[in-house]
Structures are given as structure tokens and as C-alpha cells.
């Protein structure tokens, strides 16, 4: 089949990258897999909650793949193109079966079937899980299969290699991606690699916000490099914030929302900057602000409200504990035995990383950036399901308007599925903007990553085998193109290394870590939970200042071997550009939708903004411009997103518990 030395490069070894590598290798095309870490250590390991799929039990209760699709669109406030979401929901049960066959230890019922749990965004049990570390277990399942393919020589793993730049050749119709430049993070050798297609599976960009729930490798640097090379970036402003995280000195770790569900009370000291031990602060000196502002629902207000209120109290009113961005989540009024029984596992996590026992000391929590719905812009070929008019409200038990046959939402194997605007350059997983619209439902992330790899991996194989003309193959491209790309990266590196001086890098003006810290604080304050036009403009000014300082950055390490400072500082330049895209999209989107909340435009505005923001980079000016592209809504008619109203009727404990771990 593939006797014509065609090759595919996959960048990133999380769920999306591994699933893609396996699928492409199985299709007979050899894969070069690049990852900054041994793939088993990718960020996918951090996902705790589970993976959604329609299943037999839920089906017999009236659930369906179609309803999973409908929930995902609704959750995402209709900002995602609908075809790909339908296809993903249809494939979910097949994906669970495959993972099951790979040996993933899914939790079991007493009869030996796969167990299910309730999760936010659905009234049906449709979330499969493996202990408290589902993401880790799914990743290991794929890691094991990748190891098998590697041992057979079908996948060539290059671990501790950093992606530096996509190589794009040709003009107009002929413009296509023909390989990448990458660097060995140990030897620092920079090298070009040829490929007929490149799959970016490089995850999110949480580190742009400083401390987030993301791993340290999630800088968004790789996506930003593709963006600077001409790939479009979609819906950058759509950043999901998790309401309750444990703010550490190094990162924020998730605290399950079930702590609120079980009776946790949120408060801050009434006295600004009070540093007393919380247990010695009397009841009348505590401000239970959620209970006060929402007397009816108190601490059980929905997630987005909880997030905004906590944020407001700390960032705008400076009432956080000891002046810091933290509030108490207090369980100490409850019976410790009851707590251990109900919340054991999550209390242990808190104790391990915060060093205090939540049964006797109030927990300190704060919202944290968790997931990027935005990512590289991608396209696809629509599938067979093309209703005459979009469907209305779908209720449990209703007959599904679409079938679950392969190719209903997206044509199976079409060359352009999840391809960026640059031919041959694909984006899979979190770095792909396609599936989650304006907010992602809990336990849909793992699904979208694996779906991209398995379903769209076939598109990559088909494209390299049938879509690349013989005289267009990467093997035919002149060596000068690759040499030039390497030289450019070498020059960039030489420029950074030349800034190292004996006096060191301690001037905070030009210290890369200081600049990164300031970027994170600014992005978190201006461009996450509550946004306003003036604040975002200020944020863009700040980024301009940081970019100016970055142009004179001083590196602290001149080593020609394993130079992590160089790698980080180079990525910082890319993070600054990513930050600008995120803030600019937020400024221009004058509405509130999903995770994007504008205080000055509190309503959804379908007339103006039922559109994807698509950023394009001007390499000459260094500026980003935003275009607006229509969203495909031919399958389901957008309806108002009224979770709030449902919760008003019943702000049940179950709701908060169900939302946990996402």
C-alpha cells in the first residue's frame, strides 16, 4: 500500500497523538512521533473524571448517541460546527469498546459490566471511568499499543524532542506542509524532518495563564508556532475555568465540586487582609458571601456563578484570605467520619498537596484555568445527515432524527477532516477548536481526543496515500527548503544565547520567568472569569509592553547541552502572541456565551456572534487580525442555554456531585 516512502509526523503523545499514531501506522504509513516528554507522561494523565458515551443501560432509559450530541452542542452554547460533534457522539460507544479491548481497567458492576457515573450536563449515567485516574488509564492503554507498534518498527518515537516550526512549501494551490523542524532537548541538535502530513496534537495553553490545572508542558507554544507560520486560530477567547482548585505555589490542582455538594460553606474573613487562623475567626467575623448574595441557594449556586463570585470577591474587592486570591471552602462544621466516608479520596488529595486536613482546617480554594475550547482552526467534509430544516428540542425517548451509521456527521476518511487552512497540517485533540464550542462538558475531553485520532487518523492516511501527487511528495522537495528552515531556528537560538551575560539575568525587566509570571497574572485577571472591554484593552497594552521587554530578554544559561531556559524563553515569545490572540478575541466578541462572560455585554447575541472568531497572523507586522466565520447550525436549531433555570427549581446536591472532577 504505502511502498512510496510516504511518512506522517505526529507532534504530541497524549491521547490524541497516540490514537492518531496507532491508526495511521495501522493504515500502513510509517509514523514519526515527536514528544517533549516520554509519551506515558503526557498531560492526558491528569484527567480524573471519565469519558462519556451512550451505553446500553442509558439507551434503555431513553438516552441515545443523538442526545449526547444534543447535550454537547447545548453545553457549548452552539458555537461548534454540528456535523463533527454528531460524528463524535456516534463513535463514543465504539471508542469505549476499543479501549476496553486494549485492557483499560474500567470500573465494573457486580455482574462484570462497565460501571457508569453521573456527570454534569446530563440526567443519564453515561460516564465510564477507571478509578480516580481515568485519563491516566486511557493514556496507558494507548501507550501500550504504541509501544507494540514501535517494537514492530511502525512507529518511530522521538521523545524529548521539541517541535519548533512547521515546514511549508509552495504557493497558492501548491501550498502544503512538508515536514517540521524539531530539537533534541538533550543534545540541542536542531533537525528538519520530512513528512507528507503533520498532525499537531499538542494540547492546550494553560501556562499562558501562569498557574492553571495544566501540566508545565502546556504552553501553547507549538500551536502558536503553527499560527505564526500561517495556520488560523479559532475561538481563542473560549477558556474554561474550573471553580474550585487548590492554589499551590507551583500549580492549581482540581478540588472536586462534590465538597460543596456535601455541605461545604464558602467564606472569607470580613476584615480585609485578616491573617488569623481561620478556626479562631468567630462566626460573626466571617462573610459567607454566597449565602448572603444568594439566600435561596447559598453555596449550591451553579458553577459559573460560584466561579464569578469567588473571583469578584478576591480580584475586585480584594477580600481574599490575607489579601491573596483564595477563599475558604469549609467542611469543619461537619462530622469527620461522615466526611471520610463520603469524600475520602478528594480530602486525601488536598492533604497531600496543601498539607492540611480539611476535616479540621478549612480548605483554601480559587478558580483556575482548566481547558481551552479554542485552538487551531480546522475544516471537514459534512456527512450524510442533512435534514431539510434543523431539529428542534430533543427529549429523552424521542426517536433520533439521525442514525448512528458511520459518516452521518462527517464523511469518513475525507482528506480535509480536521485539517487546518494549510494543506497537510492537521490539528487533533485539545489543540483542535472543533468540538466544544464555548464550553466543554465534563468527560467529553478524553472522548474528543481519542475520536480525533481514530476517526480522523484515517483521513490523514488517505490524504498521504491518495491526496498528495507524486511530484508534490515531501521526498521531492528540495533540500534547500529544509536547510533554510533549520537555519532560521538556529538563528533564533543564537540570538537568544547571545543575550547571556556574566552579570546574569536577574534584572526583572528582562528576566524571562518574571515576564512569564506577569503575563500569567494579567491574563488570569483580565481574560478568564469576568471580562470587560476596558480591562481587555488594558490587557492588550500590558502584553504589548511585555512583548517589548521580551525583545530585550536576557537568558540565564548559555549551555549547548540540555538548556531548558532556552526552550522556555523561546516558548515565552510564542505564549505572548497566544495571549494576544486570546485577549483580542475576547475584546471583539461583544456578547456572553458559554465560558466567555462580558460584564458589559451580558447576553448571547446570535445575530452578531453565532460565529467563530478566527485569528490570522501577519508575519510582517506581528499583528493578529480576527475574522468571523459562520457556524454550521443546519442540524439543530440553537436554543437558549437555561441550565440556570433548571437549577433554580432544584439546586440538588446531585448536581454539584455530578459535576465533580471534570
Amino acid at each position: 500500500m504505502a511502498g512510496n516512502n510516504k511518512r506522517v509526523i505526529v507532534v504530541g503523545g497524549g491521547l490524541a497523538g497516540l490514537a492518531a499514531s496507532i491508526r495511521v501506522a495501522e493504515g500502513g504509513v510509517p509514523v514519526d512521533l515527536f514528544s517533549m516528554v516520554p509519551v506515558k507522561r503526557s498531560h492526558s494523565v491528569c484527567a480524573q473524571g471519565g469519558i462519556n458515551a451512550c451505553n446500553e443501560v442509558a439507551r434503555q432509559q431513553g438516552y441515545s448517541e443523538y442526545q449526547h450530541f444534543d447535550e454537547t452542542l447545548y453545553g457549548g452554547d452552539y458555537l461548534a460546527d454540528q456535523g463533527p460533534v454528531l460524528e463524535m457522539a456516534n463513535w463514543a460507544p465504539r471508542i469505549i469498546d476499543l479501549l476496553d479491548r486494549m485492557g483499560v481497567p474500567f470500573n465494573r458492576t457486580s455482574e462484570g459490566f462497565r460501571d457508569l457515573r453521573l456527570f454534569g450536563g446530563s440526567l443519564f449515567k453515561r460516564t465510564h471511568f477507571a478509578g480516580a485516574t481515568t485519563g491516566q488509564q486511557l493514556l496507558y492503554g494507548l501507550d501500550e499499543q504504541t509501544r507494540r507498534f514501535a517494537s514492530e518498527g511502525k512507529i518511530n518515537k522521538r521523545e524529548f524532542w521539541e517541535f519548533l516550526w512547521p515546514i511549508i512549501d509552495g504557493e497558492g494551490e501548491d501550498r502544503r506542509c512538508v515536514g517540521i523542524v524539531a530539537q533534541d532537548m538533550r543534545t540541542m541538535q536542531i533537525q528538519a524532518f520530512r513528512a507528507d502530513a503533520v498532525v499537531m496534537a499538542t494540547g492546550g495553553c494553560g501556562i499562558v495563564f501562569g498557574k492553571s490545572t495544566n501540566s508545565v508542558i502546556c504552553t501553547g507554544g507549538a500551536a502558536s508556532r503553527c499560527y505564526q507560520a500561517g495556520a488560523w486560530y479559532g475561538n481563542g477567547e473560549m477558556i474554561q475555568v474550573h471553580p474550585t482548585a487548590i492554589p499551590g505555589a507551583d500549580k492549581c490542582r482540581l478540588m472536586s465540586e462534590s465538597a460543596r455538594g456535601e455541605g461545604g460553606r464558602v467564606w472569607v474573613p470580613r476584615k480585609k487582609g485578616d491573617t488569623r487562623d481561620p478556626t479562631s475567626i468567630a462566626e460573626n467575623e466571617r462573610w459567607y458571601f454566597l449565602e448572603e448574595k444568594y439566600p435561596k441557594y447559598g453555596n449550591l449556586v451553579p458553577r459559573d456563578i460560584a466561579t464569578r463570585e469567588i473571583f469578584d470577591v478576591c480580584v475586585n474587592e480584594h477580600m481574599g484570605i490575607g489579601g491573596e486570591n483564595m477563599v475558604y471552602l469549609d467542611l469543619t462544621h461537619m462530622d469527620p467520619h461522615y466526611l471520610t466516608e463520603k469524600l475520602g479520596g478528594i480530602l486525601e488529595i488536598y492533604e497531600k498537596f496543601a498539607g492540611a486536613d480539611p476535616r479540621f482546617t478549612p480548605m483554601k480554594i480559587f478558580p483556575a484555568v482548566h481547558y481551552s475550547m479554542g485552538g487551531l482552526w480546522t475544516t471537514y467534509t459534512p456527512g450524510d445527515y442533512q435534514p431539510e430544516s434543523p431539529a428542534g428540542i430533543h427529549n429523552p425517548g424521542d426517536e433520533s432524527p439521525a442514525s448512528t451509521a458511520v459518516g452521518q456527521g462527517m464523511e469518513f476518511g475525507a482528506h480535509n477532516n480536521m485539517m487546518t487552512n494549510i494543506r497537510g497540517l492537521y490539528a487533533f485533540g485539545e489543540v483542535n477548536f472543533a468540538y466544544h464550542g464555548a464550553t466543554r462538558l465534563g468527560a467529553n475531553a478524553l472522548l474528543s481526543c481519542i475520536f480525533d485520532g481514530l476517526f480522523n487518523g484515517v483521513s490523514v492516511t488517505n490524504y498521504v496515500l491518495d491526496g498528495v501527487a507524486e511530484d508534490q511528495g515531501a521526498a521531492t522537495v528540495s533540500a534547500a527548503v529544509f536547510d533554510h528552515a533549520v537555519e532560521q531556528e538556529q538563528a533564533k537560538q543564537a540570538q537568544l544565547l547571545a543575550t547571556v551575560s556574566d552579570s546574569g539575568s536577574t534584572d526583572p525587566q528582562f528576566n524571562p520567568y518574571t515576564i512569564a509570571g506577569e503575563l500569567g497574572v494579567e491574563m488570569t485577571a483580565a481574560s478568564t472569569v469576568v471580562k470587560t472591554g476596558p480591562r481587555l484593552e488594558q490587557c492588550l497594552e500590558k502584553i504589548k509592553e511585555l512583548r517589548e521587554r521580551y525583545s530585550q530578554v536576557k537568558l540565564g544559561d548559555a549551555a549547548a547541552w540540555t538548556n531548558q531556559s532556552l526552550s522556555f524563553t523561546r516558548a515565552l515569545g510564542d505564549m505572548l502572541i497566544m495571549g494576544e490572540v486570546i485577549a483580542k478575541g475576547g475584546l471583539l466578541r461583544e456578547e456572553s456565551r458559554g465560558s466567555h462572560y462580558r460584564l458589559d455585554f451580558p447576553d448571547r447575541d446570535d445575530d452578531r456572534f453565532l460565529k467563530a472568531s478566527v485569528a490570522e497572523y501577519n508575519a510582517t507586522s506581528g499583528e493578529s487580525t480576527i475574522m468571523w466565520k459562520d457556524v454550521q447550525t443546519a442540524l439543530v436549531k440553537p436554543k437558549p442555554r437555561t441550565y440556570g433555570k433548571v437549577e433554580e427549581k432544584e439546586p440538588a446536591r446531585e448536581e454539584a456531585v455530578a459535576a465533580s472532577g471534570s
Binding site: V37, V45, R101, N107, R108, I207, A516, E518
Partner: protein, 276 residues
Amino acid sequence: MSNTATNGQPSSAAPVPTRTVTFRIKRCDGPGQPTRWEDFKVPVVPSSNVISCLNWIAEHPVTASGQQTTPVVWDCSCLEEVCGACTMVINGKARQSCSCLIDQEAPREGDVITLEPMSKFPVVRDLWVDRQRLFKGLEKIKAWVPIDGTYNLGAGPKEEPDDQQMRYTLSTCMSCGCCLEACPQYHKEEQEADWENAFVGAAVLSQARLFNAHPNGKVLEGERLDALLGVGGVNDCGNAQNCVKVCPKEIPLTESIAAIGRAATVHAIGRFFRGK
């Protein structure tokens, strides 16, 4: 890794440091280079851990005696003790640096924390070591379920909850290497050529048990046991039981080793009678 953008927060958002702690860090510029110790005085807050201190040093690379130096190089990723990357020897004990809180490790003013790279793996630079031998070991024992391909072929086998629990526990091994650092039978091998005959270690033996326990993974049990009957296999274990005491995921490693040992013996007898 010095990649976290967690420092330099404006004072309005950053907690005020409450005290300083001295870090003694064993440094080495690369393979074959001499090692040296450097001390750093690091301001800490109650939420500080070893990672946040290494981040602080990256931003302020000046030793306790005022010498300008380079940021320390180390490996990390998840910062949640689930990826295994950040393992190092802290005050003489191998553990994850991301879950090492300063207030617990060095509670008193003037306490010193020493950081060294793991001694059983070749050093790349400073605290970063090369653990590829561990992953090679997984390849050697075919640590996977040999599925027929990724086509849609229905569900996997049903499983009893107890069996799932057992496999889940074994499957939480994050290839961190603590059990190997602690093992008296596991020795450093600089050359990849020597890995083949060197002891695979407790983590890999336990993974063999994991895949032998899967109804379809079992298909390769014979090959796994063949690999583990040879040099560097289960017989290299001296039963010192150090491994099980240090595993951060509390994986029952000695049980796994005993199970593999028994299976290997049975397999060897069978092989003798089959004349293979």
C-alpha cells in the same frame, strides 16, 4: 523543568514569604562531567513545594554565597504526582518533587534540603536522569494486550470487580523509578547495549503480572515468562523488599514478584517437559 511561569507575580497577588530554606543541589553539566554542590537560600511560603523552589531558583540563579550560576535542570510535567517525571532523591530518599511540601520536609528555620539525581540512571544534566531503560523493559516483556486492530469489534471481556481492582492498582504504575532506586539488585547501566542483560526491576515484573492477568493479555504469558526466566529476569531479585516500601502508588510489588516467580517456575517445568 524550569518551564513553569509561576514566579514573578506582583506582590498584590503573591503571598509574602515567611522564611527561607537552604537547598543543597548536586549539579552536573552533562554526561561525563564532574559533579559539584551548590547552595541556594530560597524564600518559602506555606504552599511551597520543591518544584516552586526550583522555579524560584530559575528566576534568581544566584547561589547562597552570591555566585551567579545557571537555572537548575530537572524533569517534571503534571505536578500532581501522576506522571512520574519529577522523581529525584530528596534528603536521601527517592520521591516525587511535586508532592514534597517544604513545610513538611524542612519545618524549622535553617533546615536544609538536599536534592540529588537518582543514582541508578545516567544523568542527563543536574537532576534530570535518563529512564529509557525502564520503558525498554516494558517492551521486552511485551507489556500490552495484543488486540486484533482498532476496528469496531465489540466490547472486551467482562470482568469481576475484584479483578478490575487488582489490575487497576497495578496499572497506576507511573514508571517513576523509585522502586528501582531503592533496590539493591538494580544497578546503573550507562550503555544501552548493557540493558538487555541487566535486571529489569520490580516495576517491570509487576507489569508482567498485570498483562498476564488480562484474559487476552494472557496470550503472551509464555513469551513474557521466557523473557523473565533469562538473565536480568525474576531470578535477579534478592527479595530485599525495599521496592514495595517506597512505591508512591502503594503497588504490592513483592506480591507481584512472587506471583511472577511462581508462574515462571511452572512455565519452566512445562518448558522442560515440552522440550523447548
